[in-house]
């Protein structure tokens, strides 16, 4: 897995040349917000020709999922190459060509738990941005207790039959497929009767209803399963052992939400925004808080890199990923509060665009496990405190 410095230099030079030639100018503004993200999927409407072109070119090189094996649509990059990749992308402020829950979550789960057939079947369409996935974990009233799965999934011999309801399913109304936790054994202990299943959203009996958030947008839905039938083979891992997959995925989800911290919001460095603020230079409270936030941001980003290195080196990150989730999301909330303060009354208008981003961050420390759940995980599993 480890290249010589020379090999890395060659890779870097080639990549830089490729990016220079292939990344459209319009895609070099470093933006990464709700209005510019390319989510892909069957019904995706590209916001520009440049967005389409950029995706297509990256797909040919495997750069939508750079670390995935080549046979599944990736570029097969090592950890060191991945760092170079991200550094070169950042150097020209390139947008991500594609983002999706398929990349962040289902992909890693399938790579770890899936059969070879499943990988071949599901991964390449994700890498190409052809199929958009959503996740079905939470259920109404269950809150932080993700294992409290009531959605019933019965073995009907030649197919599964599922009935129930999920909530907080991100973009379920725009997704092609859903990966979900369902209860396949109601008599087993809470964590032992859950399976991790894959369902086409076009299947009869699946319906969604968007939930409007305080930020005015609706990234989440309620999703209903009403006598939904689906094939037996659409289970990842062992039947009734879906909690193992879920736990593994939660780790990835935590990292994802945490990683989003650095680039969310306006995309501009915090300091630049504060510097622009009328009172930023003279108000010691705002400036002092911004300095603190900048220090913490850089250190949290370094921590994310360190953990990735550790994972690459074979060390398990495991429960400690709860730290990344906790620190990343809490920090992100602080950052967006500061951006709002720096914006003064201008930022209070919906049209200004800052407010939705600010409000959206409030969900970061709730979705994918609340900060309180993260702290409890750390206290019990990492620190070994009783109870």
């Amino acid at each position: 897995m480890s290249e010589t410095t020379e090999q890395l230099s060659t890779f870097q030079a080639e990549l830089r040349a490729w990016l220079e030639e292939n990344c459209p100018q319009e895609m070099r503004d470093g933006r990464n917000d709700e209005t510019t993200i390319c989510w892909g999927g069957k019904n995706w409407n590209f916001t520009s020709d440049a967005q389409r072109t950029w995706l297509q070119r990256c797909v040919t090189k495997g750069y939508t999922v750079p670390t995935w094996p080549v046979e599944y649509g990736g570029a097969g990059l090592s950890r060191d190459e991945e760092k170079v990749f991200h550094a070169e992308m950042a150097r020209i402020n390139a947008r991500y060509p594609l983002q999706s829950f398929g990349i962040w979550m289902l992909g890693p789960a399938l790579l770890h738990f899936g059969t070879h057939e499943q990988k071949l079947h599901y991964l390449p369409p994700i890498a190409r941005g052809e199929v958009r996935w959503c996740q079905g974990y939470s259920e109404p009233g269950a809150g932080s207790d993700l294992a409290n799965v009531q959605t019933k999934c019965e073995d009907k011999g030649d197919h599964w039959l599922v009935n129930g309801q999920k909530i907080w399913t991100s973009y379920a109304d725009k997704a092609d497929w859903i990966f979900a936790l369902v209860r396949t054994d109601k008599d087993a202990p809470k964590h032992k009767g859950i399976s991790f299943v894959l369902i086409n959203m076009e299947t009869e009996g699946v319906s969604t209803r968007p939930i409007k958030l305080i930020s005015g947008v609706s990234p989440f839905c309620e999703t209903f399963f009403d006598d939904v039938k689906f094939p037996k083979e659409q289970v990842v891992g062992t039947v009734n052992r879906g909690w193992d997959v879920a736990k593994y995925l939660l780790t990835h989800e935590r990292e994802m939400i945490s990683a989003a911290g650095g680039s969310m919001g306006t995309g501009r460095p915090l300091g630049a925004v504060i510097a622009d603020c009328e009172t930023g230079e003279t108000d010691p409270v705002l400036r002092g808080d911004a300095m603190r936030a900048e220090v913490d941001t850089l250190a949290v980003e370094l921590t994310l890199e360190r953990y990735k290195d550790q994972a690459e080196a074979g060390g398990s990150v495991g429960d400690a990923s709860a730290m990344l989730k906790y620190m990343g999301t809490e920090l992100n909330k602080r950052r967006l509060e500061l951006l709002m303060a720096a914006g003064g009354s201008d930022a209070l208008e919906w049209d200004d665009g800052r407010a939705p981003n600010w409000l959206r961050t409030k969900a970061n420390s709730i979705e994918g496990g609340t900060s309180e759940v993260m702290l409890s995980i750390l206290s019990k599993r990492v620190l070994g405190l009783p109870g």
Binding site: S144, K212, D283, S345, W350, I366, E372
Partner: protein, 360 residues
């Protein structure tokens, strides 16, 4: 007593659902509600009795503002009944008394047009009030004019040479154009432009070049009332949160049984209590020693700004997913708190005044 009466009325006439309905209908104003408030003497709470007011003072105005904050009642109370009334009282001539009577009756509403940039800074006013003949010609624009979209009249701060002058103008004066903004708190705020607006000496509130004589007490009264409203917003959000902690079950027990949440809730309660003291003190000081109320007012606004931010942030977080949904009221509190944090000076602005008053 005043608080209890106010609470009774507001729970009935202006609960959060009232603001939600206005928002969903694209409105920012409920004339009937303001009329009802006027009938109870709220519009005239700072208007002298001989002008038809109830003249109950700033401490009482703060009590009302706190109660309005609890239910997020939408009205021009602070702009009209507090700021404009206080400004007009500084003048107390016949014309001002007539204007005060119109405030007390609920017939006329006001907005304060001061801000020109993203941060509160009256001294930096650039809107020009050039002398012309016996009068003035106003040119420039004001942003973040709270309640300015619906107001009948505007108090406009203008630069007249080196000094500042305060004008009291009808909002429909020729040359004035208003653009209502879509604000996150679903309340009224506007950008107001002035193109060759003619004003006479009659339109000047107080003396020419002496805006601050009239404006300083008015702004301080507004800041105290806004601080009180924010304390109410904090109390409203906190109340919802404590109820939720008692009701909501997770892992088989009420989440209020979890010690980490208990301690955070208790800490928040302490912050609310301490802020309440600062509000009470500001109201009292404005009534008893208004010349020297600057420190007390800034202390109240700083504390309230800090406390309400904590209250709404903990409110959303402790409610979990539901706290994030538009269908739930907590988001309204969070958005109003954000607007209240900026209006009439943010935390740093007021903390700096406190520090200066304390000699550093």
């Amino acid at each position: 007593m005043l608080a209890d009466a106010a609470r009774g009325f507001l729970d009935e006439a202006a609960p959060v659902s009232h603001l939600r309905r206005l928002r969903d209908e694209g409105q920012t104003e409920d004339k009937a509600l303001w009329k009802a408030m006027a009938d109870m003497g709220w519009a005239g709470i700072l208007v002298p009795e001989n002008a038809g007011g109830s003249d109950m003072g700033h401490a009482a105005a703060c009590v009302l503002a706190t109660e309005m904050g609890k239910t997020l009642a939408s009205s021009p109370f602070i702009s009209t009944a507090v700021i404009a009334a206080t400004a007009l009282r500084q003048v107390a001539d016949e014309r001002a008394n007539a204007a005060l009577a119109q405030i007390a009756s609920g017939d006329v509403t006001y907005a304060l047009a001061v801000d020109e940039n993203a941060k509160f800074n009256p001294e930096a006013t650039q809107l020009r009030g050039d002398r012309e003949g016996n009068g003035f010609r106003l040119n420039g624009s004001k942003g973040f004019v709270v309640d300015g979209g619906d107001a009948d009249r505007l108090l406009v701060l203008a630069r007249t040479g080196e000094a500042l002058t305060l004008f009291d103008l009808p909002a429909d004066r020729e040359g004035i154009s208003r653009e209502a903004k879509s604000m996150i708190d679903s309340r009224d705020a506007a950008t107001v432009s002035f193109a060759d607006v003619e004003a006479t000496g009659e339109d000047v509130l107080g003396q020419v070049d002496q805006a601050m004589t009239v404006l300083k007490p008015a702004i301080e009264a507004g800041q105290a009332a806004l601080a009180a409203e924010m304390a109410g917003v904090a109390a409203g959000a906190f109340g919802m949160t404590v109820e939720y902690l008692k009701e909501r079950k997770q892992f088989g027990v009420p989440i209020g049984a979890f010690q980490a949440l208990q301690h955070r809730a208790a800490h928040l309660w302490c912050e609310c209590e301490v802020t309440a003291s600062a509000i009470l003190n500001a109201g009292r000081k404005l009534d008893e020693d208004p010349e020297n109320a600057r420190l007390a007012v800034s202390l109240a606004k700083a504390r309230a700004t800090d406390t309400v931010q904590l209250a709404v942030q903990e409110g959303v977080q402790m409610h979990g997913g539901i706290g994030m949904t538009d269908a739930f009221d907590m988001g309204f509190y969070m958005k109003r708190a954000r607007v209240g944090a900026e209006w009439l000076g943010d935390y740093g602005y007021h903390a700096n005044i406190v520090a200066q008053a304390r000699g550093f």
